[in-house]
C-alpha cells in the first residue's frame, strides 16, 4: 500500500490523507521536513503564527528493522533562531508512524479559540482530533501515564508541555521512550511552542496491526542490514561493552574535561576536576547500585544501546537517560557537580517540555547575571518551579539564553543564530566551532559530528587548534544531513566510517527501501542538497553570512587552561558554503 502524508488543519480541525507527491517519494526524515517547510512556509512567517507549519517525518529506513533506524525528524520555522529547524529524536514513536505508512504529518493553521487544546489520535484506519484541555498545565510524566490509562498500553505519544503552552522559545517536542515516559526529545529550537501555538497538545499513535513498511528490493536491503549490523557489533566504539554501551554519551565528560574543552560556569573555563563527580563512569556505577537500567535502547532497533534509565536513590522515580549534553549543561556549566541535582533538573525539563542544553545554558547565564550563585542547585530547581507556575520570571527563563541574557544584562551569551552552544568549547575544539557557526540550525554539535576526515577525502590529521576547518565541517555537515534523512542514529558513523562494509550497508538499505541505485557520492550530494534548501530558507528569512559567526566574547576572552580564543578567520567560515 502506498505511503501517505497526513495534513492536519488546526483551523477547521480536519485531518486529510494525501498521496505523496513524486518529488517527495525518495525523501525522508530531515530532507523531507526541510523540503516541505521550504515549499509551504513563507520564510518571514511568525514562528507562532498561522502560516508556520510543523512537520514530522520518520527516516527513509525507519521501521524496517535495520539497526539504529528509529529516528524521527520534526521541522518548522524555529521560534528560537527565526530560521529553519530540523530537530531529530530517537523514539519508538518513529517506527510506529513508519509502520502506519505515514511518510509525514503536516500540522498547519491555528484554531480560532487560542485556549483550546487538541489531541490527534492516529487509529488503525482513520485519525481524529479530540479535546485535550484536561492535560493543560500538567507535567508530561503524569500526562503520559494518564494517556496510557485512557488509550491503552499499545500506543506511542508525542507531546508539547507546559513550556510550550506559554509559547516559550525553548519548548521542545517530547516523545515516549520504550517505557512510555516523556524522555525522548526533539529538544532544540522551540518546535514544542510551534505545536502548542496550533492548539495541538498530543499525538497518540496506536501500534498498527497491519505493517505498511515498503521495501522495494528486499535482497539489497537485507544484505545491507546485515553488513551494517556486523560493522556496529564489531567496532570498538559501537560494540557491546564499548564506550557508548558501557557508559553512555556521558563518557565524554572526563574526556572533554581532560582536553580543556568542557565549558565551566557559563563558558568561563575549560576544565574543572570536580567534573569527574558527574562523569559517565560515576553515573553508570550509580545506575547499577540504584537498580536503574544500563545499557538501554531508546528505540527498538538499536544495537549500540547508549541509553539508560536514571532514578533517584533506591531505584525510585525513573527519569530516563541523562545524556552528556544534559549532564554538562545542567551540571558543570552551572558549577553544579552533583548527579542527583542534575537528575532532578533533567526530570523537570522532560516534564515541562524543555530542551536541556538551552535550559542549562539559560540557568548559567542567569547565574552570571546574579539571579543565583554558580553551584546553587537548590535555587536552580526553584527556578524550574517558576516555569511550572508560568510566572513572569519563569516565562523569561523558558525563552532561552539570549532572552535571559538580555533580561539580566549579561554579555557573555553563548549563542549562534539565537541557539545556545553545546558541550564542546569551540576555543579548544575549533572544528566544531566552524559547524556551530555555519550550520543553518544555530549552534548544534550534531550538525557536523565526529566523522573520520580522512575517509571523507579532506586529508591530513585534524589538529584541535588548527584553523583550517572549513572543508572538514562542510563534509561533516553533508554526511550528517544524509544520515538524518535516512533515519539512522548519528552514532552509526563511528563504525561506518571505519568499516567499509558498514558504509555499504547504509547505502544498500536506503537503496533497498527506495528501489534506487545511489552511490556513496550520491548520498553526499543528497546531503549537500538538504543543506542548500535549508540555507536558502534562512537567506529569505533574513540571514546572511554575517550570522555565520560565533559570539564576540569567544574571539576576545581566552579560555583556560589552553588560553585560546576562537581565531578561525571569517573567510574560512564562509568557505563552508563554497562548492
Amino acid at each position: 500500500m502506498a505511503k501517505k502524508i497526513l495534513r492536519v488543519n488546526m483551523e477547521d480541525l480536519t485531518v486529510k490523507e494525501e498521496e505523496v507527491p513524486e518529488e517527495y517519494e525518495n525523501l525522508g526524515g530531515r530532507a523531507l521536513t526541510s523540503q516541505i517547510i521550504a515549499d509551504e512556509v513563507p520564510p518571514k512567517a511568525h514562528p507562532l503564527g498561522p502560516n508556520n507549519k510543523l512537520v514530522f517525518a520518520p527516516g527513509i529506513v525507519t521501521g524496517t528493522g535495520s539497526p539504529n533506524s528509529g529516528r524521527l525528524s520534526a521541522g518548522g520555522k524555529s521560534p528560537l533562531t527565526g530560521g529553519i529547524k530540523e530537530s531529530n529524536a530517537g523514539t519508538p514513536f518513529a517506527k510506529t508512524l513508519a509502520k502506519k505508512g505515514i511518510k509525514a504529518i503536516i500540522v498547519e493553521g491555528k484554531p480560532e479559540n487560542k485556549d483550546r487544546y487538541y489531541l490527534l489520535k492516529l487509529n488503525e484506519d482513520e485519525s481524529d482530533l479530540v479535546h485535550a484541555d484536561e492535560w493543560v498545565g500538567k507535567g508530561l510524566y503524569e500526562a503520559y501515564e494518564e494517556l496510557h490509562e485512557e488509550f491503552g498500553e499499545n500506543i506511542e505519544i508525542t507531546g508539547a508541555g507546559i513550556a510550550a503552552e506559554i509559547g516559550a522559545s525553548n519548548a521542545g517536542i517530547s516523545y515516549t521512550d520504550p517505557e512510555g515516559m516523556s524522555s525522548r526529545y526533539s529538544g532544540r529550537g522551540g518546535l514544542g511552542a510551534v505545536m502548542a501555538s496550533k492548539g495541538l497538545k498530543f499525538i497518540v499513535a496506536e501500534e498498527p496491526k497491519e505493517d505498511r513498511i515498503e521495501i522495494k528490493d528486499e535482497e539489497t536491503f537485507n544484505e545491507g542490514r546485515k553488513k551494517l549490523a556486523k560493522a556496529l557489533a564489531e567496532h570498538d566504539i559501537t560494540k557491546k561493552d564499548g564506550a557508548l554501551n558501557s557508559y553512555g554519551t556521558a563518557v565524554l565528560v572526563n574526556i572533554i574535561n581532560e582536553s580543556g574543552g568542557l565549558p565551566q560556569r557559563n563558558f568561563s573555563e575549560g576544565s574543572d576536576d570536580r567534573s569527574a563527580e558527574v562523569s559517565g563512569e560515576k553515573k553508570a556505577e550509580a545506575v547499577q547500585e540504584r537498580g536503574g537500567v544500563r545499557p538501554h535502547k531508546c528505540s527498538p532497533s538499536c544495537i549500540i544501546q547508549c541509553s539508560e534509565i536514571w532514578t533517584k536513590e533506591g531505584g525510585e522515580d525513573p527519569v530516563g537517560v541523562l545524556e552528556y549534553e544534559s549532564v554538562w549543561a545542567l551540571g558543570p556549566n552551572c558549577g553544579i557537580y552533583d548527579l542527583d541535582t542534575i537528575g532532578e533538573l533533567n526530570r523537570a525539563c522532560n516534564d515541562l517540555g524543555l530542551d536541556t542544553i538551552e535550559m542549562g545554558n539559560t540557568i548559567a547565564v542567569a547565574m552570571e547575571g546574579g539571579l543565583l550563585d554558580f553551584g546553587d542547585g537548590v535555587k536552580a530547581l526553584e527556578l524550574m518551579d517558576e516555569i511550572y507556575e508560568k510566572t513572569p520570571l519563569g516565562r523569561i527563563l523558558a525563552n532561552g539564553v539570549e532572552f535571559t541574557g538580555e533580561a539580566f544584562g549579561v554579555n557573555r551569551v553563548p549563542t549562534v543564530k539565537g541557539q545556545s552552544i553545546p558541550a564542546y568549547d569551540p576555543r579548544s575544539i575549533k572544528g566544531i566551532g566552524v559547524t556551530y557557526a555555519t550550520t543553518p540550525m544555530g549552534a548544534d554539535h550534531t550538525a557536523g559530528y565526529a566523522i573520520a576526515p580522512e575517509i571523507l577525502g579532506v586529508g591530513g590529521d585534524a589538529d584541535p587548534f588548527e584553523k583550517e576547518k572549513g572543508e572538514l565541517s562542510k563534509n561533516l555537515q553533508r554526511a550528517t544531513a544524509a544520515i538524518d534523512s535516512a533515519g539512522y542514529c548519528l552514532f552509526i558513523a563511528f563504525a561506518t566510517m571505519d568499516i567499509d562494509e558498514g558504509m555499504e550497508g547504509v547505502v544498500d538499505t536506503v537503496n533497498g527501501v527506495l528501489g534506487t541505485d545511489y552511490s556513496i557520492e550520491d548520498v553526499m550530494a543528497f546531503g549537500a542538497n538538504v543543506l542548500k534548501t535549508e540555507r536558502e530558507f534562512n537567506r529569505k528569512a533574513g540571514f546572511s553570512k554575517e550570522d555565520d559567526r560565533l559570539p564576540e566574547f569567544m574571539k576576545e576572552e581566552k579560555l583556560p587552561p589552553h588560553n585560546e580564543v576562537f581565531d578561525v578567520p571569517d573567510e574560512e567560515l564562509d568557505s563552508v558554503w563554497e562548492d
Partner: protein, 93 residues
Amino acid sequence: MRIDVILYGKLGKKVEGYDDTLGSLAKIELELEKELQIAQVMKRLDIREEEVSHIFLNREYSHPERVVEDGDRLALFPKDMALLYKWYFSKKR
C-alpha cells in the same frame, strides 16, 4: 621529579589510590628519577598500550613517545572509553 597521573575508569582500579568519591578514577603522584617517555611511565604502572584509548599530557592529546617533565599532568583513558578523539585530533609528539 614528580608527576601527577590520573587513571580513568578501569585503569584506576589497577592501582592503589582508586577513589570512588572522586568520580571513579585514581589520582596518584609518581616519583621519577629522570624524564621518561609516556610509554615508559605506562610500563612502570603495568599498563599496556593496548589497554589505553586516549592519552593526555597537560591536557593535550598525546602520543606515547612524548616525554614527561617535572610537575606534568598525565591522564590515561582505558580502551572501553574510546570516543571522539581518534576522529578529531592528531596526537602531539
